[in-house]
Every structure is written in C-alpha cells, then in structure tokens.
Amino acid sequence: MTDVLAVTEHRRGDLRDESFEVISAGRELADDTGGELHLAVISGEVEEFAESVNREGVDHVHTVEYGEEFNHDVYTQAVEALYDEVDPTVLLVPNSVNGLDYAPAVANALDLPLVTDAVGVEYDDTLVVTREMYGSKVETTVEVEGDSFVVTTRGAEWPQAEGVGDADVSAFDFQPDESEVGSTVTGFEEVGGGDVDISEADFLVSIGRGIEEEDNLPLIEDLVEATDATLSSSRPIVDNGWLAKNRQVGQSGKVVTPDVYLAIGISGAVQHVAGMKGSDTIIAVNTDPNAPIFDIADYGIVGDLFEVVPELIEEFE
C-alpha cells in the first residue's frame, strides 16, 4: 500500500479541470509514497474519459460504467470498492461541490482520516497537509495520524497534467447495490440568465460586503452610469437578494475576464477569486490592507469606498 488513488470528475459529458489537477497532485504524492498513481473514472462516457485522463504520470485507469451523471450513492460505493482493490495510501478527491458530496461518506465508511480543501500535500512517512482557515486569513499545516488517508484538493492549486501517458485502462468489475441508492438526479438548470451577461463586459464594477447596506447600492449605480461600466458582485450581495444571480462573479456564479475589474469592498475569498483572476487589470478598493484581493490586484486603494467612490464619480461626470 504505497499507491495513490485519485478520482476524476465530469459533468454533462465533459471532464472538469479538477480531473487534470488531481492527476498532478496525485503524481506528486505517489512520488512521495514511492507508489503508482491510479485514477478512477466513474459513470458517463468512461472509455472516452479514460483516454483523455491518460496523461503523463498516470499508471492505471479504472473505469466504472454505470449511469451518465454523478450520483453520490453510486460514487460512494464505487470508490469504496476501488479503495479495497487498490489499497492506496492516499485517496484523492477534488474539493468540489460533488467531491464533498461523497468523500466524507467514503472516509467515514472506511474509517479513514479526512482532510479537506488541501492547498498542499506531502508524504514522508507522515501525511502533512497545508490548508487555510478563517477565510484564507491564516494558513496551517496539519499532520495526520494513520496508515491511509482521504484528502480533497482545492481547485486551481495544482497545474493540469499534460502529455500522453501509457497507463493501462481496465474496466473495474463493479455493480452498485441499487437498494442503497436513495437519491436521483432529475436534471440540471443553468441559473443567472436574464438581462445581462457579465462575462461579456469589458469593464466590470464589482461590489462586495463592504457596501454594507442595500441603501448604499445607488452610489455604485451612479459610478456604473458615469463610467459606462457593467455592475457585478460577490456572493453575499446576491445571497442578500440585493442583486440578481446573473450579477454574481465566482465559483458558483460566472467566470469573467474583462479588460478591467474594479473590486469595491470585496475581500477576495478564494471562491470569488476563482471567478475573476483572469481579468486583464484588477483594481481593488478596500479598507483592509491585508485583504486577499490585494494579492491579485494590479492597482489598489486602501481606503473607505464611501469616500473614494464619490470622488471617482466626480472624475467622470
């Protein structure tokens, strides 16, 4: 048991980026443990997926042909069975919405220690995981006791594996116990359509918690009008119902890449940054000089938006 088993992820016919990232993380870790890297491809077009994930560094790909889409009951059973087959030191799962819908159940059922949302993983007889706490304000290292572990890896922290591998691909002999499948995916829905597509905008003025109250929205709307920008926001503004879902930038909202992204009162949580870090120029206005948004900003003002924004409006009126 020196191997690493990593589970790939797909949705509606396409492999997701996490699949290729978890290969990179898995390869690094397998080099640490001195073992081989196994991948699991479960449900959907497994043969096509297996070919795509057969990248440099992959030793084995196990396919489980059952159903089209992710179902956590099927994944839980299949991953547990594969774990028994492969007997890995580490089971790696993407720290995605779906990854967190089965990894904790697998860890609990197999009685394995679980560490989620890893941004770094190393193994040298002991598993050491780097992860953040308090909304990315601190980083921690965690030592994990045990012989075998489940770790979920944060998206975009590892590069996507490239090249063509020479893994052997085999169909894993597995049929789920259907009496244990108590959930059914009935469909998908795109949300956030409507009057505006923020991913098309050249200039986004984006607001976050710093706006404090819905009554302060008109101030930002004045800025948007004066600069002919498009208005977007971070999650809390949409959660509060102050703006429609189609304005939300981030992991669960839209990914945007405008020429200029002006972040006002946005601290820059990782879920938000995932949706806007590809912008050409990022400008941040925030009272907290330690806010993570400044890590990715090109320009910034450390100051009170209620003082800065009125001055900015005046510049363009």
Partner: protein, 263 residues
Amino acid sequence: MKVLVTVKEVAELADDFEVEGTEVADRYLEYDLNEWDDYAVEEGVQLSEDGVADEVVSVTIGPERADETIRMALAKGADRAVRVWDDALEEPDLLDVEAKAKILAAVVEEEEPDLVLTGVQAGDDAFGATGVALADAIGYEWAAVVNSLDLDADEGVAHVRRELEGGVEELTDVDVPAVLTIQTGINEPRYASLRGIRQAQSKEIAPKTLDDLGLDAAAVESDLTLTEMYEPESESDAEIFEGSAEESAGKLADVLREKGVAE
C-alpha cells in the same frame, strides 16, 4: 416531522491579529453563529411555520460560552437545544470530522429526527464535510450544498437543488430521512425579534457530556494535529494609490482612462 439543525459557534478574526503558537490570540477573535448555520436554522424554522415540522431541535458541540450562540437559534424559532461538551473536547485544537460526526450521530440516535440540516461548512476551519460524514454514520440519505428545498413529507422525498460550480444547479430527489447541508442564499435568515429573544430565555438548552451520549474520550480523539499556523505571505505587487480620497480616486481614474474603459 422532527428537524434537527446543527449549529456551530465560529470565531471570526479581526483585520489585524496575531498568531501565537498554533492559534490566533483570543483577543482578536469574535464569536458568532456560523453564517451557513444561520440559513440552516431559518430553513428549519420555516418548515415549522409551514406546518411540516412539529419540532425543531438545535444541537451544537461547544463550551458553555456557546450557549449565547445557540440561544440565537432559539430566539429565531428553534424549540429547544442540546449542547454537547466534555473535558475530553478541550484538548484537540482541531476536532476532526470523524469525531464531530460521531458526537452528532449519538445525538441523532437520541433525537431520531426525520431531517437533519447542517451548514455547508464552518467559517473557521472550513472542512465542509461534517454533514455528509454524519449521514454515513447514521445511515441517512444526504445532499450537499443545497440551495432550494421542497419537502414532500407524505412521499418521504426531499426535492432539492444542489448548487454546482459555474452557475449550474442540479435537481435531485433524496429519500427522507436525510441530512442536507444548507448553502447561503437558500432563504433570508430573520433577525431575532425581541419577543423571540425573551422566549429563548425560557427554552431548554440541555447540556450533554460524552458519557451521557454513550461515548468515551477515545471516540473523539483526533487524527489531525495542527502543527503550524501562520499568516500567508502577501504576494501582492499591486501599486497602491496613496493620498486623500480625491487624490487616489484621481489616479484610479487615470488608469481607467489609460486602459480605455472609461472616459
């Protein structure tokens, strides 16, 4: 139908803080009800108001100080609360998911709820895993990251929407009993009314030790040890505009003009 809502008191950090050893110095911590749990409480209370739930019980793992937080859940409409604490829980600086799931599973065994609502994650350690681990421990169905719930109690099915990445929602039917991890934005959490706060004073918060729940200290020993905590080094190479609001806004405006996005 009985609903159990798990809540956690979480620490939030001040803008400026200091790390001492493997923890943030207590004077920089402010304790509050976990944001995600606030939405879970609201969802439970709404089920009660809609006549679907007969009783909403709130459970937390935490020291006596956490009574203040759990009383917020009671003030918002939960009927009663259970608070689990034990000397054995003082020690580990990072309680692992397995330990939390075991404790909550023991509470579920006593309470026998039809539905368990948890927050998607806690704002402090952010494991995002306790709800699903709990479901496995108690043999309930589950759904993670739920942002819409339509409960058909007669059919024993929860019609939920799961918020996936990239603005896509998954529509799923889940057999009840189930554990649902609740995402922010699923509802509008109410503020506790004065009347609610007054009523909460007379609602029961039952303290439980591990022994009361039939668990021993070994059951909650954590496999995880926090060995380091530090502030990540700023990778910022941003050009910061100094000066008064007028001056800095002027420089920002120059950048917008230079990039050709505003005139």
